[in-house]
């Protein structure tokens, strides 16, 4: 759908939502906690489109996201991203899928020798590559058509996520056991790539919010020492370098999956004045916001979560109840709080469940600290 077919965003809503969105970052008083359900291809389902359509049409995708933000009354930011970024720039093949985000089918690194010979692209090369070309098409659309909903993000994931977009996950995990130094090299190169990608966005838009963290490197697949070696350390190095090169100021640590054993080390990860930490799960359970605030509340903005499985397959009452518990525990966190989902809002999540999440924030997320 071209831009003219979208209803204009209600400017009164946008002003109010912008105010709610600003509070967690700069402590300006507002009424209540903002909700960010990480809406991506879910927006397409509201337009009777599928995930494949969403990802193949980045300009339309962000229009749909912006409209969904207003519909649900959530964070007014137009996003576009998917997990399998950065493969195609280095020769990977990607498959567009009807009902899920694009997936890499063929990766450029197959052997340890390939890791040695692998060269990270510089900033100029990345800007011309398929990932940023598409990503910037989405961001430019937001900037032009929805300037007050624009945030210049760079989707990175952590070093293990980038590494497994370059080499098959089964190979990387095998090397982790048989030749861990190969994975060290791979993750170092992934970190260098992350720095170059952030620099590209910062140069283009004057600022950059890096989405990093640890997704594959979670307690379900790796032990604490492996997470530390292949994720925490190289990610920390990369973030520090990004901030030392002036390519910030936003840092979003997205710790998806189970982080029971490693979450504490992330307390010392490099942070900027606009840092946020989101942790998905504590074992099999949603990560308690009380625990998140206890450990991170005096450091950065906290992103409390509701189980995405619940948002996808639970009842509105279940979503509402968990959201209530999380928002009550986090709303007055000293350096700001956002309520959201543990990961991206599932494409076909029932809209009533997203509504229940927002309703809980409206009913129980009123600030007391101002």
């Amino acid at each position: 759908m071209p831009a003219k077919d979208y209803a204009p965003i209600d400017q009164n809503w946008l002003e109010e939502a912008g105010s709610l969105w600003t509070t967690p970052w700069v402590d300006t008083p507002s009424e209540r906690v903002i909700v960010d359900p990480i809406i991506l291809s879910h927006a397409a389902s509201l337009f009777r489109k599928n995930a494949g359509y969403f990802y193949q049409n980045p300009d339309e995708a962000v229009r749909m996201v912006c409209a969904a933000c207003e519909l649900y009354d959530v964070t007014p930011v137009g996003h576009y991203l998917y997990a399998d970024y950065w493969g195609m720039d280095y020769g990977a093949e990607i498959k567009m899928q009807t009902n899920s985000p694009p997936g890499i089918t063929k990766r450029p690194i197959k052997t340890p020798e390939d890791v040695d010979n692998f060269e990270v692209l510089d900033t100029d090369e990345l800007v011309k590559g398929p990932t940023l070309t598409t990503h910037y098409k989405a961001l430019d659309t937001v900037k032009d058509e929805y300037p007050n909903m624009f945030a210049p993000i760079t989707q990175l994931g952590g070093t293990m996520e980038v590494a497994t977009n370059w080499a098959a996950i089964e190979d990387v995990f095998m090397w982790m056991i048989t030749e861990p130094e190969v994975v060290d090299k791979l993750c170092t190169k992934a970190g260098d790539h992350m720095v170059n990608a952030c620099r590209a966005t910062a140069e283009r838009y004057g600022a950059n919010v890096m989405i990093t963290g640890s997704v594959i490197a979670s307690g379900d697949l790796m032990d604490r020492e492996q997470i530390k070696r292949f994720s925490y350390n190289p990610v920390s190095r990369a973030v520090r370098k990004v901030l030392n090169e002036g390519a910030g100021p936003g840092v979003y640590y997205h710790l998806c999956g189970n982080h029971t054993d490693d979450f504490e080390m992330w307390k010392d990860a490099p942070m900027s004045p606009f840092s946020i930490v989101q942790i998905g799960y504590d074992g099999q359970d949603i990560f308690p916001t009380s625990k998140l605030v206890e450990h991170f509340g005096d450091r950065c903005t906290c992103f409390g979560t509701v189980d995405t499985k619940l948002v996808d397959r639970g009842t509105p009452a279940q979503v509402y109840e968990q959201a209530k518990e999380q928002v009550l525990a986090g709303k007055d966190s000293p350096r700001g709080f956002i309520l959201g989902t543990a990961c991206e809002c599932p494409t076909n999540a029932p809209p009533v469940n997203v509504h229940a999440l927002v309703k809980a924030a409206k009913d129980f997320g009123k600030y007391e600290k101002f």
Binding site: K228, L243, N244, E245, A247, P273, F274, R335
Partner: protein
């Protein structure tokens, strides 16, 4: 210590509203009391000076001024309180001349316009003197602009 200032840096000083004399004083103080960082593999030094609302840094070699930068955010101390062990290599490329200690890369709390948040700093583990790099100062400048816009 007389420092040569190139025309380019002179213009940078003017753009940032910093006087040559202020920079010279910062360097002189650092040279006299040793409160400065020195590059581990080179002859560059970083000295800093604070006014009520600005922290200024001079990067200099024995003969000339190499860079100047500043930030408005005021450093309060280490994020999370006291210095403790971290699980990454936090050694920087700089050492504190006064203490002969490698400066550590740690999060430090910074405050501006009533907002306190962390940022990446360089910290001497002995005297607890804090510095930021030129790149971080650029990041802080962006952060300060956002705070000025949103807190106005």
């Amino acid at each position: 210590m007389d420092i040569k200032i190139t025309e380019e840096l002179d213009n940078l000083l003017k753009d940032n509203g910093i006087k040559k004399e202020e920079i010279q004083e910062i360097i002189d103080n650092a040279e006299s009391n040793g409160s400065k960082l020195e590059a581990i593999d080179g002859d560059l030094c970083i000295a800093k000076g604070c006014t009520d609302n600005l922290t200024m840094y001079a990067v200099y070699s024995p003969s000339e001024l190499v860079d100047v930068y500043a930030h408005k955010m005021s450093i309060l101390g280490l994020t999370g309180g006291e210095l403790h062990d971290v699980e990454y290599d936090d050694s920087s490329d700089w050492k504190c001349v006064k203490c002969d200690e490698i400066a550590l890369e740690r999060n430090v709390d910074m405050t501006y316009m009533g907002v306190t948040r962390p940022g990446p700093g360089l910290v001497c583990p002995k005297c607890n003197e804090f510095y930021v790099s030129d790149g971080v100062a650029k990041t802080l400048k962006t952060a300060e602009s956002i705070l000025e816009e949103k807190r106005a």
